[in-house]
């Protein structure tokens, strides 16, 4: 039986801010085989950074817990899933609005989900109060971009 993807990875790391960079580097190395352009690389790194930062600040409110990151490559397509087991988002639709932030005091811009949406082809967020949040993103590499 053949696999339905070309490569797969799954890692778990602590929700400390140092690991925002760690997560970006992992994903950058994972997609290197697809020869992404600088722009595509930058897009994906930004999206990963936003998702992981959300886990650290919002889901776990700076407590040290676990973040899961899973990646799959199928042809030219990258799939990413970033999961936390934190407090969850009450209203996902509202949280995804540009400039919406619960972290005004912490100098958050409220652009996290907007950037994920803008830089990836596909964004899907599922959250459950008290259980956690799953962010799934997809992007095809080597595709002409319409901005």
């Amino acid at each position: 039986m053949g696999r339905e993807y070309d490569n797969h990875m799954k890692i778990t790391f602590d929700s400390i801010s140092e690991n925002e960079k760690f997560a970006r580097i992992v994903v950058a190395a994972f997609i290197a085989r697809l020869n992404p352009t600088m722009e595509e690389m930058s897009d994906i790194k930004t999206a990963v950074s936003e998702a992981v930062t959300n886990c650290i600040i919002h889901a776990y409110e700076n407590e040290v817990k676990q973040i899961e990151m899973e990646g799959k490559i199928t042809g030219k397509k990258l799939f990413l899933r970033i999961t936390d087991f934190g407090k969850g988002i009450e209203n996902v639709e509202e949280a995804m609005q540009p400039m919406f932030t619960t972290g005004l005091k912490e100098e958050r811009s409220g652009m996290g989900f907007s950037f994920m949406e803008a830089f990836m082809d596909q964004l899907n967020v599922v959250s459950q109060i008290g259980k956690g949040t799953v962010v799934e993103m997809e992007k095809e590499i080597g595709k002409e971009k319409e901005f």
Partner: protein
């Protein structure tokens, strides 16, 4: 990383500006703001290759601080990757861009 020149604060933004780095920078700039009267803040992005929305939060935070007293925030040395983020965020409505740090300083000295 920081250079104070009268009421002008120049911030040399590091290679990567994410939430981790932004927290550090926030503490350091608040410290400077407590000691001195800063009216103008220039973020020089010359060496910056990566930024996420934490950088936008950082710019907005400093804007709020100086805007109350009629000050301004500038960005300089912005390269392509960073420019796209700034554009998308709409921050250019409140922050003025100059090609180089020198140009921003020259304009401020007029």
């Amino acid at each position: 990383m920081y250079q104070q020149n009268g009421n002008i604060l120049i911030i040399y933004v590091p290679k990567e500006l994410d939430h981790h780095k932004a927290e550090e920078m926030k503490k350091e700039t608040l410290h400077i703001f407590q000691k001195a009267t800063i009216r103008y803040v220039i973020f020089d992005f010359k060496n910056t290759e990566f930024m996420d929305s934490s950088g936008i939060g950082m710019l907005m935070g400093r804007y709020r601080q100086v805007n109350l007293t009629g000050g301004k925030v500038f960005v300089t040395g912005v390269r392509e990757e960073i420019s796209r983020i700034l554009m998308l965020s709409g921050i250019y409505r409140i922050v003025k861009q100059y090609e180089t740090l020198e140009e921003a300083l020259e304009d401020l000295s007029r």
